[in-house]
């Protein structure tokens, strides 16, 4: 897999390689691998990477955390690592300490809303919340009369309708019915649901880019092994061109995602330029997941369509990740409106500002 000169990523890759080998996991029908993997990740402090030390986390930089998520994508990690990182980060915005254990963020879609009632309790419904069923706590973004707050909520107090996304990971509907939060504090100035969705979208973009890197890797290897018409299929020009296009999609996803991560990690404010980066990454990575994933399957023929083969661990997850924190259609409309409202002559200056 890809090399790394980043200590957080190195630690994570070692754990992934030891405890989350995609083939081993794919063969294990009972999910017995989940507990040791999560334990090892927690002992290394990775799920709370983005939480400062005084709030119970390991205080890694945003940049290091994003690189970690890219690596998690390369292994198609199916435990709530990204979700717990995001939840811890969200809580830290309001100086709320993170508890131990799995967490996720609510809501996970720009369309859903959780509101603060007059008595201080929370109500609302959020669909497609990743790993809600596995979470012990939720970091919740709350809309109240006086603006936006951030709350820590005990999962036991919340109604969950279990569901699965396209990649067979939990994606659940979460209903808060006059739930009293463990803690609630006001969000910082200018922080809103869009900020959360953009950060979540960048996280997903890095995971998609990672999954595409692995899809390219295993597709190239397979094409060099599989023989048809007495030749390795990698020698057929049509197959080569398909793989060249997959390499292009993988490269585009990685470029968009790492650029957005860099923009967010160094942002002083969520201005139009950062918005362009984050929204573009989600749009372009989602497109790459569709185009690149279909090529990876084409190259693998029928074997790649089986549950036994590991390809679906990457391809279906990449497709599923398109839906979280706003789909590419959602962000395209928003980005298009932003561009239109700035006016035609401001389009190039916006693009060239990056």
């Amino acid at each position: 897999m890809a090399e790394s000169d980043n200590i957080v990523v190195e630690t994570a890759e070692k754990i992934f390689a030891d405890l989350a080998d995609p083939q081993t996991i794919n063969n294990d029908k009972k999910d017995a691998w989940k507990t040791p993997l999560w334990q090892a990740l927690s002992e290394a402090g990775l799920p709370l990477s983005w939480v400062p030390e005084d709030l119970g986390g390991s205080g890694a930089s945003l940049a290091d955390g994003f690189a970690l998520l890219n690596a998690a994508g390369r292994f198609a990690i199916a435990v709530p690592l990204a979700e717990t990182m995001l939840a811890g980060w969200l809580l830290a915005q309001a100086k709320i300490a993170s508890p131990d254990g799995e967490m996720t963020v609510v809501p996970a879609s720009p369309k859903d809303r959780i509101t603060l009632n007059a008595d201080g309790s929370l109500s609302g419904r959020a669909r497609g919340v990743p790993f809600a069923k596995a979470a012990k706590h939720f970091a919740v973004l709350v809309h109240g009369k006086d603006g936006v707050s951030i709350a820590l909520v005990d999962a036991a107090k919340v109604r969950i309708e279990a569901g699965l996304n396209v990649g067979y990971d939990h994606s659940d509907a979460v209903t808060l019915d006059n739930v009293d939060p463990v803690t609630i504090k006001p969000a910082p100035n200018a922080f809103d649901q869009i900020t959360l969705m953009l950060i979540g979208g960048v996280a997903r973009s890095l995971q998609i880019a990672g999954a595409l890197e692995s899809m390219l890797d295993i597709s190239v290897r397979y094409s060099n092994e599989r023989v048809a018409f007495e030749k390795k299929i990698s020698k057929f020009q049509a197959v080569q061109h398909n793989l060249a296009r997959l390499a292009g999609e993988s490269a585009a996803a990685l470029a968009a995602a790492t650029s957005a991560a860099d923009a967010v990690a160094n942002a002083k404010a969520f201005d139009d330029e950062v918005y362009l980066e984050a929204a573009s990454a989600k749009i372009r990575c989602a497109e790459a997941a569709e185009k690149g994933g279909s090529i990876a399957h084409q190259v693998h023929g029928a074997i790649g369509f089986t549950m036994e083969h590991i390809l679906h661990r990457y391809s279906l997850r990449a497709l599923a990740w398109r839906d979280d924190f706003g789909s590419e259609s959602h962000w395209a409309v928003e980005l298009g409106r932003l561009v239109a409202s700035r006016g035609a002559d401001e389009l190039w200056p916006l693009v060239a500002s990056r």
């Binding site: 290897r221 490269a251 395209a332 239109a340 389009l347």
Partner: protein
């Protein structure tokens, strides 16, 4: 990992932003003075020699070259900014662009000192136009099938044969061309080609214009009959041009000109939909902008690799493949969305005129500078498939 394709998020340094402002101000003055109309990409640039000289006077030609040859010793990233601002403004760059991007760097590497001293400063001043003589009637993608002969004679070579699709040959002062000096060998079919500096407008060269489907004349057939080239105009190794030609192409393939040729229709669409577009238009524009932004980030990243002295052959091919496919589709996607633009949009006519031209331009984008198929072959090689 099979191929570690990394596109680091290079940011343009502050000096680039300053430079960008200067280029924009310069272009605004030129537009105000009537040198060119940024909304009209469909003109022929043969009539802008004075513009070239003014760009040269600004120090924006040969920017990365040594000062002793008239260059500025500035970075690839600074050159990148100048290129993209000129392109986006639809400035008339045809006269100087090939020399600046490609021919100058070839001369820097392979020409004898006295030729460098004579020619490079003139390129930097915007006085010279160059053409590239690679393709021949039966040798396009397969460069090594080139047949036009250079036969050794007293003090030089005699050239006989035909080059084709030669952009700007009709206005060029020089051409850098490859000719056959020996037959290919059994072991190496790439052997036997040599690169030459060719002075145009001399006896023995005839330039025949070829019309393009856009209605423009930009490329030509160039016929050589006993045309004499002196020995000191040989560039690099005799019979070894294939190495030189392939490294030259890396420069030709990574720049912003590889995804911005039809860009103007996107701006015009944004103008036409106004500040409050319907959902379908907004979504279409959003996607196109996200794709454009991604490509540009990839292209800037490759410029950063060049600046760092790397040879990003595969990365440049990926950018050209994705970039040209995108700029080819762009006019069609804009046309899809333009169907919903109000009749009353003030720039409706401009948009339609531009679309008409961009749609005619589109087919060439994935052919010039190496076809999509050839690029994908290079990428496949980089992936270890060939």
């Amino acid at each position: 990992m099979t191929a570690a394709l990394r596109f680091d998020p290079i940011r343009l340094p502050p000096e680039c932003e300053q430079l960008r402002k200067e280029v924009r101000a310069f272009l605004a003055e030129e537009i105000a003075a009537g040198t060119f109309d940024p909304h009209k990409p469909n003109r022929e640039d043969t009539d802008a020699p004075e513009f070239s000289r003014r760009v040269g006077a600004k120090g924006w030609l040969g920017m990365t070259w040594p000062k002793k040859y008239g260059g500025q010793e500035r970075s690839f990233l600074e050159r990148y900014v100048v290129t993209e601002e000129m392109r986006v403004a639809n400035a008339p760059t045809r006269r100087f662009f090939v020399a600046d991007r490609q021919s100058g760097p070839v001369l820097l590497k392979y020409a004898p000192e006295h030729i460098k001293m004579e020619i490079l400063p003139r390129i930097c001043r915007g006085e010279l136009c160059f053409a590239i003589g690679m393709s021949e009637p039966n040798s396009g993608s397969d460069l090594f099938a080139a047949k036009t002969r250079a036969t050794k004679t007293d003090g030089g070579y005699l050239i006989n044969g035909t080059k084709i699709w030669t952009s700007s040959a009709h206005i060029a002062d020089y051409m850098i061309a490859i000719f056959r000096t020996s037959p290919p060998t059994k072991e190496n079919r790439r052997h036997g080609l040599t690169q030459f500096l060719v002075k145009m407008k001399q006896p023995g060269i005839k330039v025949n214009p070829i019309g393009q489907i856009t209605g423009q004349y930009e490329f030509n057939e160039v016929v050589f009959t006993d045309y004499f080239i002196p020995d000191d105009h040989v560039l690099g190794e005799v019979d070894g041009a294939w190495k030189q030609a392939t490294s030259e192409l890396a420069y030709e393939r990574s720049g912003p000109e590889r995804f911005l040729e039809t860009y103007y229709v996107l701006t015009e669409l944004v103008r036409a939909v106004g500040s409050d577009p319907d959902t379908r238009s907004a979504e279409g524009i959003g996607r196109l902008v996200a794709q454009l932004h991604t490509m540009r980030r990839m292209s800037v990243s490759v410029a950063g690799m060049l600046q760092a002295g790397k040879e990003p052959v595969v990365e440049a091919s990926i950018v050209k493949d994705i970039g040209t496919v995108w700029e080819q589709q762009l006019p069609h996607r804009v046309r899809d969305l333009a169907a919903f633009v109000e009749e009353t949009a003030t720039n409706r006519e401009t948009l339609e005129r531009q679309l008409d031209f961009a749609i005619k331009t589109a087919p060439k984008l994935t052919i010039q500078g190496g076809t999509t198929e050839v690029l994908r072959g290079i990428i496949a090689r980089g992936l270890g498939l060939r």
